[in-house]
Amino acid sequence: MKKSNIVLLVLIAVAIGVIVTVAGDFSTYETFATARQKEGKEFQVIGTLDTTKTMVYDAAKDANLFTFYVKDKSGDVCKVIYFGTKPTDFEKAESVVLTGKMIKDGEFHCGKILMKCPSKYKNDQVAVGNKV
């Protein structure tokens, strides 16, 4: 066997190894119910903003605290706490992707919000997040 073939095999093995590790990082979009079952584990939840409940951001009290309510795909409404400022145009978001985890008292703490904003011509997206 030629040396280059051996090298090629080794590299292919490395490549496969890399892809397997990488695929291990992939997650799926979940609901609050799943997140509640595994408290403290990080999930990504897609949902819409529940506009019937109030959202609170008061920089004078805490500049890193924004609370709001989100209804997930199964219709489950959950209180969400985001440790950051209120994102621009948040009220207008058509849907939001929250990355975070459920904690004991049934609040969803998220560190990253990805919003999808409808605008007449562009579905501009805005991502905000804390790099933890």
């Binding site: 090298v7 500049a63 579905n123």
Partner: protein, 817 residues
């Protein structure tokens, strides 16, 4: 103008057949099409310049108040315009190729013309069998699909209703957006040239000869694409607010991957040129580069990235066409496979001590990097495939795959190893000779650079206190290795210019590019591992925040700054000193004053003001689109941007005055501290009080102590004017929203009554984030050096090609990139 567009569509079908007359005809056809493209470009720019809002493209992407300097930015802010930009570059490249390629003109230009056909089909916007092909930038607003049937469409003077355009997306209103897309699209367009050469070589069965003219083009393409990508990074750093220059966003990845494969291709090409090995790999890399460019176009423009990317285009209903465009070029691979037997290969095995062997390994590693990035970036595509092919049902999956939740680390933990290996390889491979290298000489020459790189790593790790432990010791280890690899690449290549090339700078393009690349790696590793957030909100930390369980998920990176109220941030005292709205601009600028003081003497060591700004309204609605501002030092940047400002709508102030009866020396507590009544002043002075002859005025001298150890003086005044009218003049501490009123004198008890109000709504503040990026200049300089290196070696190759036009055998004194 629509006629121009369709005319140009019919013209550029001029296909070149090898006969001379045909070639001539093709040549003229291409020249005419190029002229048409320029004309179309001119027309669209003219329409934008004169605000012809009857064109939908103009209406959608510009407005009257847009400065002329940003008009170009709105030109390529949308799909049609950017395709046109691509098409222009391709035309220019085509014209240059017609002049320079000589013998290769016909087959190469066939490919370029075909690519041009595909590109311009994106712009025709006609319906073929009910399928919309392309999207015409000159579509009239009244013809646009979404406006059909609206009442104003049929009114002949409808233009009177359209006074102004929709305006350019706020985040694109930046000078980087004027220059970054042209460079990036030049890079995109130029990747077709190595592709065309490789294809031409395969097609005409001249498997080796295409290499020489293709090399300078490949170098040029790598320089342009690399510069374009990094200009995008600079734009992100200068004007976006994800707090950095690179976020592994799918759009960024999609253009990085072809660059990696292109660089891999350049290296295998060099290996082939001098040793005869790795020709097939070269074909493969140049083919895959262009295909990946098309794939990245597909990703960013088909709307498929919708859920994962921050800045992709949305679907114009052209995803089918984009897919077609993508697959149209894949048969090149078919040809490569079909003719694989004919491609000359060397059957002798490479020595482990030969340069070509390691060039090949390096290329494969770049390939692995490319595969990993593509694999993760393509998650939305996987979802589409899984859904459409029924695999989802087959495997009983219910949810779509989501990208990794810690995306940045996901890429970093793989790519850091790639960077390490590539860094080390680019340091040592130049010292290897083609075919074989004497062992002793190799180790002897490398000894000093290795030692120097080790010393540099240890020194900067020790002095720079690199101890980034968020992801554990293993990752910190990798950071040190990467630091070593980058120093190694810089130092070894510097050494190679002297040892290997005896200081001949003219021939050192490759080494220069490698030094630049090493600097880029070094800049990345330092800025990423030593990036420091200084705007930590420490006020709320004691109640379980900082040391509590959620300190990791709540990094408290936003800091509220009341106006004129200094807050400590890292080494600095930072004050928000107000905002300003310059005439003629739609941005609000915030004045953020930084001061650094000597902790012992209290002397101000340095003071500067940053002006982060923000668009506060977008089409009449309250939003916040901030742009950061940075203080640049030679060794670091202080990066500041606004994350929230109070909304201007008026809430009523519900707070009321609370009375306190105090004597001299008594204190009154309020939420942020307390105040002491120090005494009464029979001749008070207050900026709101003008003394009059018959006044009987008394002021209360108050000293206010806050929780932050700040002190303020207050002097509310009580007076009796004209012996009958009671007045009082309140005093305030604006940053605390504290109001104090002197309401009564109680002479019997030797006491006074003071009324205190703390306003709950408090409107004058900003919330901001600030980071320190150390040594970010190493990164930017590295980029520039790399590009210079690429261009140097491009000219060097061009010179060689001119000097020895007919040399067939590999050059003996070959220098590698």
């Amino acid at each position: 103008m629509v006629a121009t567009a369709s005319y140009w569509v019919s013209v550029r079908t001029g296909d070149e057949v090898k006969r001379n007359s045909w070639r001539l005809q093709g040549r003229w056809a291409f020249i005419i099409q190029a002229a048409s493209v320029f004309a179309v470009f001119g027309c669209l720019y003219f329409a934008l310049y004169n605000h012809y809002f009857e064109y939908k493209y103009v209406w959608r992407n510009s407005s009257r108040d847009l400065p002329v300097s940003l008009l170009l930015s709105s030109f390529w802010s949308d799909q049609e315009g950017s395709f046109m930009l691509w098409s222009i570059w391709q035309s220019i490249l085509g014209l240059v190729l017609i002049r320079t390629t000589k013998r290769w003109e016909a087959p190469v230009m066939t490919m370029i013309s075909f690519a041009q056909v595909c590109l311009s089909s994106m712009l025709i916007g006609i319906f073929i069998l009910d399928y919309k092909v392309g999207s015409n930038p000159f579509l009239l607003l009244r013809h646009a699909a979404e406006n059909q049937g609206l009442p104003w469409v049929n009114s002949p003077n409808y233009l009177n209703f359209i006074k102004d355009g929709n305006g350019l997306n706020l985040s694109l209103q930046n000078y980087w957006m004027v220059i970054h897309p042209p460079v990036l699209f030049l890079g995109f367009a130029s990747t077709v040239v190595p592709f065309a050469f490789a294809f031409a070589g395969l097609w005409t069965r001249e498997y080796k000869e295409w290499i020489k003219p293709a090399l300078p083009w490949a170098l040029f393409s790598a320089a342009a694409l690399g510069l374009g990508i990094m200009m995008g990074a600079a734009w992100a750093y200068e004007s976006l607010t994800f707090g950095g220059y690179w976020a592994w966003d799918p759009v960024e990845n999609a253009s990085l991957v072809p660059w990696l494969t292109l660089v891999a291709g350049i290296h295998t090409l060099l290996a082939f040129k001098s040793s005869g090995h790795a020709l097939k790999a070269t074909f493969f890399f140049f083919f895959i580069t262009f295909i990946l460019i098309l794939y990245s176009t597909f990703l960013t423009r088909s709307g498929v990235l919708g859920d994962t990317s921050v800045h992709s285009f949305t679907d114009l209903g052209m995803s089918g066409q984009l897919t077609f465009f993508l697959f149209a070029f894949i048969p090149a691979f078919g040809m490569l496979i079909a003719r694989r037997k004919e491609i000359p290969t060397v059957h002798k095995e490479e020595s482990t001590y030969s340069r070509e062997f390691w060039l090949f390994i390096g290329s494969l590693i770049l390939m692995i990097a490319a595969i990993q990035i593509t694999f993760t970036t393509s998650i939305p595509v996987w979802n589409k495939l899984i859904n459409n092919l029924g695999i989802k049902k087959l495997l009983n999956l219910t949810n779509d795959i989501a990208p990794p939740s810690d995306g940045v680390f996901h890429y970093n933990k793989i790519q850091i190893w790639v960077a390490i290996v590539i860094g080390i390889l680019s340091a040592i491979v130049q010292f290897l000779k083609y075919k074989d290298t004497p062992r002793g000489e190799f180790t002897r020459k490398l000894m000093i650079p290795t030692a120097l790189a080790l010393i540099a790593t240890v020194l900067s790790g020790w002095l720079g206190k690199v101890n980034y432990d968020t992801y554990g010791a293993g990752f910190l280890m990798a950071i040190y290795l990467m630091m070593f690899a980058s120093y190694y690449a810089i130092i070894a290549n510097l050494a190679y210019i002297w040892i290997g090339q005896k200081g001949k700078l003219k021939a050192a393009g490759a080494s220069v590019a490698h030094i630049g690349f090493g600097m880029v790696l070094l800049g990345i590793v330092i800025t990423s591992s030593k990036k420091e957030t200084i705007s930590i909100d420490r006020m709320k930390m004691l109640d379980g925040g900082f040391f509590g369980a959620n300190s990791k998920e709540n990094p408290r990176e936003n800091l509220m700054l009341p106006r004129n109220f200094p807050v400590q941030m890292g080494d600095y005292h930072v004050t928000y000193a107000g905002d300003s709205l310059p005439a003629g601009e739609s941005k609000t600028y915030y004045l953020v004053r930084y001061e650094r003081k000597d902790p012992t003497s209290g002397k101000t060591l340095e003071a500067f003001t940053l002006h982060p700004d923000a668009f506060l309204s977008n089409k009449g609605e309250q939003t916040l689109t901030p742009n950061p501002d940075s203080k640049h030092y030679w060794n670091k940047d202080i990066f500041t941007y606004i994350t929230a400002v109070p909304l201007k709508e008026d809430d009523s102030d519900t707070a009321t005055y609370q009375p306190h009866v105090v004597a001299q020396g008594d204190s009154i507590f309020f939420s942020n501290g307390y105040m002491v009544m120090e005494g009464l002043d029979p001749q008070p002075a207050n900026r709101n009080y003008q003394a009059e002859p018959n006044d009987l005025a008394v002021g209360a001298t108050l000293k206010v102590y806050t929780k932050n150890n700040d002190q303020y003086n207050l002097k509310p005044i009580y007076l009796i004017r004209d012996s009958s009218y009671e007045y009082n003049i309140p005093d305030t501490v604006a940053p605390l929203s504290l109001y104090v009123r002197f309401s009564k004198i109680l002479p019997k008890d030797k006491k006074v009554e003071l009324e205190v109000k703390e306003s709950t709504v408090f409107r004058d503040y900003i919330v901001m984030k600030a980071f320190i990026f150390p040594f970010i200049n190493v990164l930017w300089i590295g980029v520039i050096v790399t590009v210079i290196g690429f261009i140097m070696s491009m000219f060097q190759r061009l010179r060689q090609n001119k000097e020895k036009p007919a040399v067939k055998k590999p050059l003996t004194k070959e220098r590698a990139v």
